[in-house]
Symmetry: C2
Subunit: 639 residues, 2 copies
């Protein structure tokens, strides 16, 4: 069993990510705090802090916002916790402490803490688990509590979280007299797992396992609950999935019987994350296996090349195998984050490079595309092809052609925040004798792992160059495991300049040996431009190619190549690579020979179009849409 | 000014259409009558006749169905009228007479006849013209009345129609004290025009012109009407088209200022039909010009190759120029019929082959595809590409992968019925000295036109063969005008076997001369297989081709070519043509050399797919989906 190295032990020095993390810390955290307090002119008020004030009895008023509005605070606090772990900031800590004090005032005597029901009426709590997110809110609160406690050592929020967990434990479980329900939006499972890890309280992991065990059984809890409320058939449960009610919530059958990804993508992947955590911590391999089955279905049949998942905006959901339309995807930023969460958890149980590969794919593509380079604008939906006219003028398109400033349902911005400030957790993991290097994000490590103090420095310039250099800062003996990415056709590994033939185990290059202080391990991974093809089972991409270099997916933008990108075709094999320090905060571009079909023919004609040669410029997908509104395309015709 | 020849004067003998018209007469008319009477087990009750019984005071009960449910009867009756004109049927006439008697009992003293408001409360009539279709119902009643009167000579339904029209005339118009409103769903305009033609009553054409003249002016009638009702902003008017309210209804600006097709396709095209009729009959060329402008926009920028129109199911609507996605179209059967209606009306004003070309394109493709070969199942939506998995498993798809038996909103089946039984109206038109042959549908004509009795026989075997033979049955002198279709690269015209160089005027070959009885005019139009390309302005079809032969668009079906049609590519220029009398009720197929990409690769791979040669079989688009559910594709990769 591997664990991520503590955030405090990792000092990220990566040229690519440092600026982004700094933006998250210096821009996003204060900006979000202002939005939570409704102090940004022109931005729709969040009411989040106000709801806590009302719930705490400090103010009169009604609840406003979504029923999960509390999570805006909890996700912010989680991001703040990760940030404080590596960048102490007394002023920020004071602000966070005050927010925690406020939330504590709203907490009920039995531990319950959800401002929606505290304000609307506690008699209604636990009556609509399917739709109303109480457990989802709690899960985010637990994650925030653990993050903040680990960063600051302050127990107050952790104790509050335990009281919330105790309240759920008192009300839910297999025992008679308790409710036998489970969340409509999964999240509490992995929150409880974190709380268990920190507190050692067995009841928490047992409760998390219970929520997974009872899920999707018949007679259906959501139906019974709904009947008790006297509801008409639910729009979400019935109308959207008439053939399989509760597929949307992954509650259409017991979790161990689910073999394919279904329904709401973030719910699906939070559930898999929870199944991995709980399966491991509660010692139930059947949960891990079930999570693994669905995860493999996703990465082999339902994942976009960008690491985006969720092929349809209806239900923000997975659709079915090989259904991956480029301009009608949902591919929510949060879902790619959740995919990375699932992958890194499965990796800690049974390391395999496919997990780190997936984290990397999502991170450098479908997650980073969710936020503008200046850190202030966001995509929920990350399409692989955008024709702005279609987005703006068709009533059936959900895709925004431009990133937006803030969302009423603000799930993605804080999710990006916590991913960036907590990035260290994805880089390394260790168990008693081995240390995994999963992401080549430059950083200095000083930690206790594999039974000894370990210190080293990793230099890298990902995603632009494939050379990694690890310098040992102390004498140690352990098993160093370096992920060999799927995109590297070969590799060269040296120790102190001498070539080493390392064994390849589950996709990791293994150096199991003693290291002296000053030892230099160098891994060279060739970053060739790769012209990727999609499986012929996918209908949209025949005759098209997507360019990748290292982990980065590239795209064409109108600003570089002119409009009507669909008329362009690329000559595969003609790639020129160049780094531009001043373009899009520093990117390596690819230029290729290509052509453009054109001509102003009739709508339908026997005449073949004119073809003109044109040089094509590809930029990293994550950086698209930072130079004004225009067309974008990942999958391009092959010449 | 040209007029269609009376249906009674045309005896259709066409091998292609006769069977279809027979099916309409023998199967559809009785089946529909049973559905109107709720006597088909397993089919959702229509309540249409029951609504009339309740409105007539013969029965107690509530109104059921859509607020335009009456049109089920009126469209049926229109189709019956056309059928009786050429195929007298005493039993059917008796049934129809009884239905008319019933409707007459429901008609109010002031002429009002709409069972929805008669049952729901007459005080509410005329209070929601935008949504509630009173004028649409009346328009269909007028069309039915004229058709039935012209077929049977019975005035009762015509008199009833005049009383309905008088009621509208008494309540609507520019005069003070009258309402200044106009229909949310256009149709009454062309109904009034027909009524004017038959009755000569000037008030009717004046009223029709008024409805067009006041449309879309500010302050907006729908807003004022809505305020009077105390409504919240309308879902249809506001939510769907927030930037341009009432675009959906083509009421966003005055009709003469509208330059592009917009909003609900059938509304748009019924309006253009009405504008053509009213412009001509009321002597206002500005109305005709405005209709022509929008019509040209449609056929050059917003029409599918099948003659389908309406690129989005949201609002069953036009979207914008060159937005023509193949699997997300709406392309309602009714809209293609309405396109043909508009085209034939514009043609009667200023003949040009582009109109007959459009009628022909719609007729042999997007209209006929709407009905199964056995005449019992229907498509509302006629997509150009179908992947059944996507239709069935994505929640955001509106397309049915199979024709359905009947629809709650049963607009398309009766629309197909009236088109087939009234087909004669599309074939010929005449004015004082010329006779247009617009469609090469074999038929015998005995009529009075161009100031004389004219009789001739047209033999043809469209759409499979391009040879047309017209034999004069009497001595005459007139200008015979034969449409030269857009798809014919050349032509050969002979009279009594001798080659004739006929002038080509506005796309018509002109024979302005005396004909003797027994004269034989032969027109040969070569039907080559044409590999069509779409304009490079359309994003979806680069590198793809659609096969046509004569007026027929072809497609690939899974049943002939295996699944994953997207992996096929066709070698242009390799076409073999063969007629199969026993396939799909007799079709000419096209086989081509081609290839299939295949292989069971990873989802994303650098490996190029395997390519195997494969012969491809194309069948007429209109005939697809008659051999079980499977994939279909019109636009195919070019090899």
């Amino acid at each position: 069993m591997y664990r991520s190295l503590p955030l405090k032990d990792i000092h990220i020095t990566d040229p690519f990510f440092t600026a982004r993390i700094d933006t998250a810390r210096q821009v996003t955290i204060p900006y979000m705090w202002e939005t939570l307090n409704d102090r940004i002119p022109g931005v729709a008020p969040s009411h989040c802090i106000e709801n806590f004030e009302i719930a705490a009895g400090l103010k009169q008023g009604e609840f406003h916002g979504f029923w999960f509005q509390d999570t805006d605070l909890w996700k912010w606090l989680e991001g703040v916790g990760y940030s404080l772990a590596t960048h102490p900031d007394a002023e920020l800590e004071k602000t966070a402490d005050a927010a925690i004090d406020l939330a504590e005032k709203a907490q009920q005597p039995d531990g319950y803490l959800d401002t929606y029901y505290i304000i609307k009426g506690l008699d209604k709590r636990f009556t609509n688990l399917r739709d109303n997110h109480e457990m989802y809110v709690a899960g985010h609160m637990f994650e925030a509590a653990v993050a903040y406690y680990q960063a600051t050592g302050k127990r107050k929020i952790l104790d509050m979280a335990c009281r919330v967990a105790d309240c759920f434990d008192a009300n839910f479980g297999p025992e008679e007299g308790k409710l036998h329900g489970y969340p409509g939006h999964q999240e509490i499972e992995l929150g409880l797992a974190k709380l268990y890890q920190v507190t050692g309280e067995e009841r928490y992991i047992k409760l998390a396992k219970y929520f997974l065990d009872v899920r999707g059984h018949q007679p259906h809890y959501y139906d019974e609950e709904s009947l008790k409320r006297g509801d008409k058939p639910s729009f979400w449960g019935q109308l959207r999935y008439p053939q399989a009610p509760y597929t949307y919530n992954q509650a259409h059958k017991p979790v161990r019987e689910q073999k394919e990804a279904n329904g709401h993508s973030v719910r699906q992947l939070y559930m898999l994350s929870g199944m991995a955590d709980v399966g491991e911590m509660a010692g139930d391999p059947t949960l891990v296996e079930a999570a693994e089955t669905v995860f493999q279905n996703i990465i082999h049949k339902q994942m976009y090349i960008t690491g985006g998942v969720g092929s349809t905006h209806e239900g923000e959901a997975f659709s079915f195998d090989y259904d991956l339309p480029p301009e009608r995807c949902y591919t929510e930023t949060c879902a790619s984050i959740a995919l990375a969460m699932t992958a890194s958890r499965l990796n800690r149980i049974q390391p395999n490079s496919c997990y780190g590969d997936t984290v990397e794919r999502a991170l450098y593509n479908g997650i980073l595309s969710g936020v503008s380079l200046d850190g202030t604008k966001y995509f929920y939906i990350n399409p692989l092809e955008v024709w702005p006219d279609r987005c703006l003028r068709r009533q059936d398109m959900a895709v925004d052609p431009e990133r937006q400033g803030w969302f009423g349902c603000a799930c993605c911005p804080p999710n990006v925040l916590r991913t960036l400030t907590g990035l260290g957790a994805y880089i390394y993991a260790a168990n008693e004798d081995g240390l995994l290097v999963d992401q080549y994000i430059a950083s200095q490590v000083k930690t206790h792992a594999c039974g000894q103090d370990i210190a080293f420095t990793m230099e890298a310039n990902f995603p632009w160059q494939g050379n990694v250099k690890i310098t040992m800062d102390s004498a140690t003996t352990f098993k160093l495991m370096l992920r060999k990415p799927y995109w590297a056709a070969n590799h060269s590994l040296t120790v102190n300049g001498e070539k080493v033939e390392a064994a390849l185990e589950n996709g990791y290059l293994i150096l199991d040996r003693a290291f002296a202080a000053g030892d230099v391990i160098e891994l060279a991974l060739p970053m060739e431009v790769r012209f990727m093809n999609a499986s012929s089972r996918v209908p949209n991409y025949v005759g098209k190619t997507a360019l990748m270099r290292g982990p980065v997916v590239y795209c064409l933008e109108q600003v570089d190549n002119g409009g009507q990108l669909w008329n362009l075709a690329v000559e595969t094999g003609s790639a020129q690579v160049e780094h531009h320090a001043d373009l899009l905060c520093g990117v390596t571009t690819i230029t290729c020979q290509g052509q453009r079909e054109a001509g102003d023919s009739d709508l339908y004609t026997q005449q073949l179009p004119d073809v003109q040669p044109q040089q094509l410029t590809f930029v990293p997908y994550y950086a698209w849409g930072n130079r004004g509104m225009g067309e974008m395309m990942v999958w391009v015709h092959r010449k």
